[in-house]
């Protein structure tokens, strides 16, 4: 297989693969940029990376191809997803631009840069590809190892140091040191009384037997959901499910069925609307 790779032009198979996967890669990249939700961006990026991994393999960089899949798509993208989860999976940020003219400038620069870059590559007149045939003669990994541990050994060591530092740095950054003693429950209640805001403990979410998930807001007597009942994190992510209306609608349906069985004159079947919706 390396024999064909060494060839000056590539096999049609690779060409086919390139055109198909290349399109996928570009689409993935575009999605990465233009998806509203971070999760979607992350996923499409992962796709692009896998495609790239394939391309590495096709280019005779077997080790890198694997590393790409394992390290990037495996580790780094997962890390991304973790962070996205911390920040909020469904938190969508509007693509509306805030800085005047930023978007147009960006596009202009982007297009200009891209055109220039491609033009540059175009007139670089890269024709004869040596191919990685004899470079990979006795194994791609061995070849890399030979280089890394001889020629680039210092750079290699330094990257090691870099990684350590990065790890420690990340820990320092994210680790929160508790400076003062945690407030006891008593102190907290006293504080609440002092500040005079919502003295009793917070109400529990999901007041109905069938809905007691933490992401469902409990209903107030008038049937409106109360934000207080849902935990802060969920609130910030905007991940509150609101079931107040369908619960009431179910109740009404139940009443209707019982009336039908008792042959009462049917009440006009209108579904319950939330007051504010009615006012709309």
């Amino acid at each position: 297989m390396s024999a064909q790779l060494a060839a000056y032009t590539t096999s049609t198979g690779e060409a086919f693969q390139f055109w198909v996967l290349g399109t996928v890669a570009v689409l993935g990249a575009l999605c990465t940029v233009f998806m509203k939700k971070a999760v979607h961006s992350a996923l499409s990026l992962a796709g692009t990376m896998i495609v790239l991994a394939v391309f590495y393999l096709a280019n005779g960089a077997y080790f890198l191809g694997i590393v790409q899949i394992v390290v990037y798509t495996g580790a780094i993208m997962m890390l991304f997803l973790f962070v996205v989860m911390l920040v909020g999976v469904t938190a969508a940020d509007s693509l509306k631009e805030t800085i005047k003219g930023q978007r147009w400038l960006a596009l202009l620069c982007g297009v200009g840069f891209g055109v220039l870059l491609l033009a540059g590559i175009a007139n670089a007149s890269l024709k004869d590809f040596a191919g990685t045939g004899q470079a990979n003669a006795n194994g791609n990994v061995e070849g890399l190892a030979a280089l890394i541990f001889t020629k680039y050994v210092f750079a290699f060591e330094i990257t090691g140091a870099l990684l350590i530092t990065a790890a420690v740095g990340a820990m320092v950054l994210t680790h929160r040191e508790r400076t003062e003693r945690a407030k006891t429950q008593r102190e907290l209640s006293e504080q609440r009384v002092r500040e005079g805001k919502y003295v009793p403990p917070l109400p529990a979410p999901g007041v109905y037997a069938r809905h007691n998930a933490v992401d469902i807001a409990g209903l107030l007597p008038d049937g409106t959901p109360s934000e207080l009942t849902v935990s802060k994190t969920l609130r910030e992510r905007g991940q509150i499910r609101d079931v107040s209306t369908d619960a009431i609608n179910d109740l009404r349906a139940l009443e209707q069925r019982s009336e039908e069985r008792l042959e009462r004159t049917p009440i006009e079947p209108e579904t319950f609307k939330r007051p504010e919706e009615a006012s709309k």
Partner: protein, 99 residues
Amino acid sequence: MNPVNYLYLAGLLFTIGATGVLIRRNAIVVFMCVELMLNACNLAFVTFSRLHGNLDGQVFAFFTMVVAAAEVVVGLAIIVSLFRTRHSASVDDASLMKL
């Protein structure tokens, strides 16, 4: 097909990534775009190593990955701590560079 197309692809991806960096406000997405740019570079490196017939390009790509990993780790840590303090992951909120 001429393998130089890989380079065109790399350039295209790089440009897209760069534009993304400029357009998106969500720090995480910005980071992803940076990753995209790095990957584009890696692709270029690999292609070059094929072009020259030696493995130095791949070594460089390898180093790039390592550095990218480190960068992502630190970057994400920063994002997290930022998010903790200001409950937002928007880069514009951190517009403290103004005097």
